[in-house]
């Protein structure tokens, strides 16, 4: 059930990209919005998985997930992921204890390495997850706890 939902979404996306490729010379803007509202509204890890239409992922050592042990400020937490897993099409970043769990998604074509760095906000100390989805709908994750501290005077 869930994988099917995901396939539908992937197909919709492919259609969008195909449309775009058809219009040669056009600026590479999306032909249609693919922002998955249900996933971004999710208030737990499970709700995000459901919103993305993916199964529960399994932990993988082939995802190298970088995040600081301690963040001096939760407003900017630098994270990065790179993976040797074959066929990774999408990577999602989830923060377990944020008001909404899903921070962002990145979609990779074959023209880029399955590797990205970004910066997220964290409301408090929490586990952060990098979830990798392959083109054949396999789902893997790596996780790390980031402690959010108060760096300065606190005034």
């Amino acid at each position: 059930m869930q994988p099917m939902q995901n396939r539908r979404e992937m197909m919709a996306r492919s259609a969008g990209v195909a449309l775009l490729l058809a219009g040669a010379g056009v600026l590479p803007a999306r032909a249609q919005s693919v922002w998955p509202k249900a996933a971004f509204d999710g208030k737990s890890i499970d709700e995000v998985y459901k919103g993305l239409g993916i199964a529960k992922p399994v932990e993988s050592k082939d995802i190298a997930f970088t995040a600081p042990d301690i963040a001096e400020n939760g407003a900017v937490v630098p994270i990065g992921v790179t993976t040797t897993l074959p066929g990774v099409k999408r990577i999602a970043f989830l923060v377990e204890k944020n008001p909404t769990t899903l921070a962002g998604l990145f979609d990779f074509t074959d023209a880029v390495e399955p590797s990205v760095k970004t910066r997220i906000k964290m409301q408090q100390t929490s586990n952060v997850f990098a979830v990798a989805i392959t083109s054949d709908d396999k789902v893997y994750y790596a996780q790390k706890e980031v402690k959010v501290t108060l760096g300065g005077c606190g005034g």
């Binding site: 501290t149 760096g151 606190g154 005034g155």
Partner: protein, 217 residues
Amino acid sequence: MTMATVMTTTRIIPLAWAFLIAGCAAAPSPQEADQAALAIMKGSFREQGIAKLDRIQQDELQQACSGEKPPSEATAKRIETAQLATVQWPADGVYLGDWREGEKLAQNGRGMTWTDPAGVPSGGNCYNCHQITKAEISYGTIGPSLYQYGKLRGVSDPAAPASTDMLKYTWGKIWNAKATNACSNMPRFGHAGVLDAAQIRDLMALLLDPKSPVNAQ
């Protein structure tokens, strides 16, 4: 605010330059620099919110402790005696409150800035400068570690007569740190009205109650 306090334009020649008589001196004398510094302090600040200009009117202690070097021993002694006389001891003899409230106060660094509203109780700012519990890793090091404060000082029963001296010493330190160290970096929390007696009791409990995580962990 008044524009006159913002000395940014070419129209205003700061008062301090008046001390540069004829501009021939290679370096200002210490007295000239002292006078210029006071004139510039006076001309550079304006009141904002609850932070009024009386805050840069120094009392004797602040003046004596504003040098590159500390004041003479005699001056320090005189200041400490005068500051000790300001300490208000708990009227009912109760020194300890609730360490849980004390921990909240120790974490709280708010209060008395120009962005703070009037009438809101201040925090103790303690973690800014001190290690206190083992659990809080975000602590400052300007002051000494207070972890196991009571335990290391042999306070196993705060109610016992043997503990009285340590209770009084600690209370005095929080109420007016300058009573024992004239130019201490620590604010005079009770004397300056930053914390009230009930808040200080709670901080006392955090440091001295054997059940407080400061001593129990």
